[in-house]
Assembly symmetry: C2
Homo-oligomer: 188 residues x 2
DNA sequence: CAATCGAATTGACATTTGTCAAAAAGCAAA
DNA sequence: TTTGCTTTTTGACAAATGTCAATTCGATTG
């Protein structure tokens, strides 16, 4: 569970322990089977999810096609970020790709805690900073690298993903068609 | 100056006024001429910039070419976000495109204030949430719209930009060559 | 006005990626 | 093992975008 705070150098040990206890108090562990949805698009998402084991993807629809926006393997978090931030219906669904053990953290409860203990804002802020940098990198990737280069980078950075995920999801994540991905794989 | 807090419904009036006063205390107004740099890549950036009037762009280098990542017109903020967040040398430069009046806010001073008044973390967090959503939209744009569609959207959302900025900057912002942009403009 | 310089456009062609249809491969149930 | 279904690959062609070189346009300056 400590992974939840990965990279949060900002808090001292006591605060970390306290936060951990607080988080455990407002979260729930549950197993999900392959193909189940943690969250469905169109609904307001009120939870953050921590993947203890397994694999989850976030996807949305564009012209009737599923577009995968994010993969969350074990020891990482995800949520329908648009919904949680803006408290509105989400464009994203969260689909379990492998049988998974998931911790659900109630966001209303978390906000309650944030109000009581404003020092936790820092945790959220630092989390946002991290995912912002990730996103900025991804834009650069997409704008200035060919599909082939993007695939090579994914292979290098997250090789296990390719073993675990259908190629159509990889393709939509990379912003290309499945056929193009197949051809890239063929001659390399 | 109130624009700095645009969209920050999270703070009550008293806190806003207090924050405003604090910000004014740690910021500095200065005029910059066209072509001047607010910040140069390779250096650590320790400031946030508020554009009172004028226009600034953030750009970085890719294969020796300048890539414009962001335009900041009057009443918006920008900074070398990678540097400020990670306290390391920035990949970005910030170039003034029109004579501008700029408020520079010291980030170390701001952090000092955040330590003293942790309720301000919320301000930063909400700012990050906003720019995160913007970035996520931009990824979607880039992945699933043609150059033509991206240009049309920019025309619709920020028409004045096209009057004020060289087309080569618009092109790199859209992730296309200047020639392609020129052709898009020709037949539309 | 002529000369000049940078910005923008145009032309010709190459490369990348998409689209649609069909075939092959993989996998699970009967 | 056979059957049926899904995933992946392949083929043929079209559309989008890039590259490089040349030209035009516009503003500035002598």
């Amino acid at each position: 569970m400590n992974f939840l705070l990965g990279g949060l150098d900002g808090l001292d040990q006591a605060s970390k322990a306290e936060l951990m206890a607080d988080l455990m108090r407002i979260s729930q562990r549950k197993n999900f089977a392959k193909h189940e949805l943690l969250h469905q698009e169109g609904k307001v998402c009120k939870q953050l999810f921590y993947v203890e084991s397994g694999l989850v993807r976030a996807f949305y629809y564009r012209d009737g096609e599923e577009i995968t926006a994010h993969f969350a393997p074990e020891h990482t978090m995800l949520t329908a970020i648009d919904s949680v931030i803006q408290n509105k219906a989400s464009r994203y669904s969260l689909e379990v790709l492998e049988d998974s053990s998931i911790l659900s953290i109630s966001y209303p409860d978390l906000k309650e805690i944030l109000l009581q203990k404003p020092q936790y804002e820092k945790v959220l802020r630092m989390y946002l900073e991290r995912i912002y940098i990730d996103l900025a990198e991804r834009i650069e990737d997409v704008l200035f690298h060919t599909a082939k280069e993007r695939y090579a980078k994914l292979m290098k950075d997250r090789p296990s993903l390719l073993q675990r995920v259908q190629l159509k999801h990889i393709a939509s994540y990379l912003g290309i068609t499945q056929e193009t991905l197949s051809r890239i794989r063929a001659n390399s």
